[in-house]
């Protein structure tokens, strides 16, 4: 009950006359090296900015086309294909991670084969394979559904299959690492309570593995946002392709690449913030007290600032 400690000294335990400690005022060490390196770095940075300012860049075009209708449509398509592919990747990742860890040798070998193939070939090649599937299967026949492959394999579907299946292989390994990071005692405790394998996985193991799974998954998603630019190969109208289309008619090649870069940076920045909050959510229980969010930190800083002023 230390929090009930009385801070005001009573008459009985009044402290004897306090001698203020002799505060040390020493001359701090001078770090000359730091000054030199700072000057060098600033100089290089300045030269770089100067070069771009002098370069033949029509900056007005960049700001002009930033919110162009076709660019915004491309941006939306990039977000759409990234999110949907990532969702497919996550579902496949959990599925194949569980299969890989299963005691059934057939399912675990199939999972191994899947990971081996989709992680072992370039995603660009995979995109092209899906896109050109009609060359070997002109007609898609699922028994209950039959159509020309070219009609089924739209640019969106080819992009989704290419990115999603590739992502699934990476996610499977991330999820597997997460599952294996959970202490065996947790599974035992859950089993001892009479919970089944499925309940143990869903209620005990997966929630705890999330802490290990989320940070690399955030990386994967940011990677996905950028890798999605490869879908240009399958004629999908994403951000990069929209930028290139505008460039082709306006002859502003570099300008439009800058526009695309600005949007990619904006997307990855926004999702990094989201990742921070997601990690914080799943840290519950593993940290004694959660770190403050940036917003809370700013608030408390302002508060302390106003205290200090008074």
């Amino acid at each position: 009950m230390t929090d009930k400690l009385d801070k005001t000294p009573g008459p009985a335990d009044a402290a004897p006359e306090q001698v203020p400690p002799d505060i040390i005022r020493a001359i701090p060490v001078r770090h000359y090296g730091r000054w030199v390196s700072a000057v060098v770095v600033v100089a290089v940075l300045g030269a770089l900015v100067y070069a771009f300012a002098q370069g033949n860049v029509r900056w007005a075009t960049v700001t002009d086309k930033l919110f162009d209708g076709s660019i915004l449509t491309g941006l939306w398509h990039t977000i759409l294909i990234s999110v949907v592919s990532m969702a497919v990747g996550l579902i496949l990742g959990v599925l194949f991670a569980v299969m890989r860890l299963s005691k059934n040798p057939v399912t675990s070998s199939v999972a191994w084969l899947y990971i081996w193939f989709f992680r072992g070939t370039p995603v660009y090649v995979q995109l092209l394979i899906w896109f050109n599937l009609a060359l070997i299967f002109p007609i898609l026949n699922l028994g209950f559904y039959k159509d020309y492959m070219t009609a089924v394999m739209t640019p969106f579907l080819a992009a989704l299959l290419g990115l999603g299946l590739n992502e699934g292989a990476y996610m499977a390994e991330i999820v597997r690492a997460g599952i294996q990071s959970v202490d065996e005692g947790q599974t035992e405790a859950s089993h001892a309570l009479g919970m089944t394998q499925m309940q143990t996985m869903r209620r005990v193991v997966l929630p705890q593995s999330m802490r290990v799974i989320i940070p690399p998954t955030g990386n994967e998603f940011i990677n996905m946002l950028k890798t999605s630019s490869l879908v240009v190969a399958v004629q999908y109208q994403d951000l990069l392709r929209s930028a290139q289309d505008v460039a082709a008619t306006s002859f502003a090649v570099m300008e439009m690449l800058f526009v695309a870069s600005i949007w990619y940076l904006a997307l990855t920045s926004v999702f990094s913030v989201g990742q921070y909050y997601l990690e914080r959510r799943f840290a519950r229980g593993s940290l004694r007290s959660l770190p403050p969010t940036p917003l809370q930190r700013i608030k408390s800083n302002l508060l302390s600032l106003s205290h200090w002023r008074r």
Binding site: H191, A192, M195, T196, Q208, R284, G285
Partner: protein, 255 residues
């Protein structure tokens, strides 16, 4: 009812690969009894305990809980392995408390206690929560219901773990060195809770190094060494007047 033992082991053997851990264990635990297992580390006490709720599968012999075979179904003279779901069903009636607590760290104390009743017995959350709070009160932690395990001391965590096991209304409680991972000053609280359970007539099998607890609360005591039962009897007799040399030398080291 009293005639049938709660746990009965007949020639139980267990090996991990080439390591022969249990070399023929025979013992009986009566209903309502506090049964203490002592012995040096590596003697197979914990392994035997884990066999009782089928966390480990025995290689030879027969093990019965409440008259039913553990892990198998017998038809004629053939044994059939039980399905995972059937094993899970039997484990409902056996509570287990681990040396390292093994609380679920992503759930609060009360959520830990509610988890099995809600998931396994399909109780409503409201009912389970009310009972969980009562159980936490019983182990003296009513005010810690909303805390995560990382915010509790070792002794508090172990008491939550006991409450979690009790939430399934077990007819048998297994304790695997429940106080070995605790700071000395926290051991007492956990032993008090166990003493209370014993007074309420719970059948308990306790693997322990707490000789005081065994002497005071135990109804019978078994000294195990190297995978066999060396000596069995009333705790007072075995602890104060051991017959075998191995028991004597072990007790001289721990008492």
């Amino acid at each position: 009812m009293t005639a049938q033992p709660m746990v009965k082991a007949e020639g139980v053997h267990k090996s991990f690969g080439p390591a022969h851990i249990l070399k023929g264990i025979d013992l009986e635990v009566a209903e309502g009894e506090v049964f203490c297992l002592i012995g040096p580390s590596g003697s197979g006490k914990s392994t035997f305990l884990r066999c009782i709720n089928h966390l480990e599968q025995i290689n030879a012999g027969r093990l019965y809980v409440d008259g039913e075979l553990v892990g198998y179904r017998q038809k004629g003279d053939k044994l059939y392995e039980l399905k995972d779901s059937e094993v899970a069903l039997k484990r409902r009636d056996i509570g287990m408390v681990f040396q390292r607590f093994n609380l679920f760290p992503h759930m609060t104390a009360v959520e830990n206690v509610m988890e099995a009743p809600v998931q396994v017995k399909r109780e409503s959350k409201a009912v389970a929560r009310e009972r969980a709070l009562k159980l936490l009160d019983r182990v003296g932690l009513a005010d810690k219901a909303g805390n995560y395990p990382s915010q509790l001391s070792g002794g508090q965590q172990q008491r939550v773990a006991i409450a979690r096991a009790l939430a399934m209304d077990p007819k048998l409680m297994l304790f695997d060195e429940p106080t070995s991972a605790l700071d000395p000053e926290l051991v007492g609280d956990v032993l008090d809770v166990m003493r209370g359970l014993a007074e309420d007539g719970m059948t308990m099998i306790v693997v322990t190094h707490e000789m005081g607890f065994a002497r005071e609360v135990g109804d019978s005591l078994v000294f195990m060494d190297d995978g066999v039962v060396v000596e069995a009897g009333h705790p007072r007799d075995v602890l104060t007047n051991p017959q075998h040399d191995r028991t004597k030398s072990f007790l001289s080291k721990v008492l």
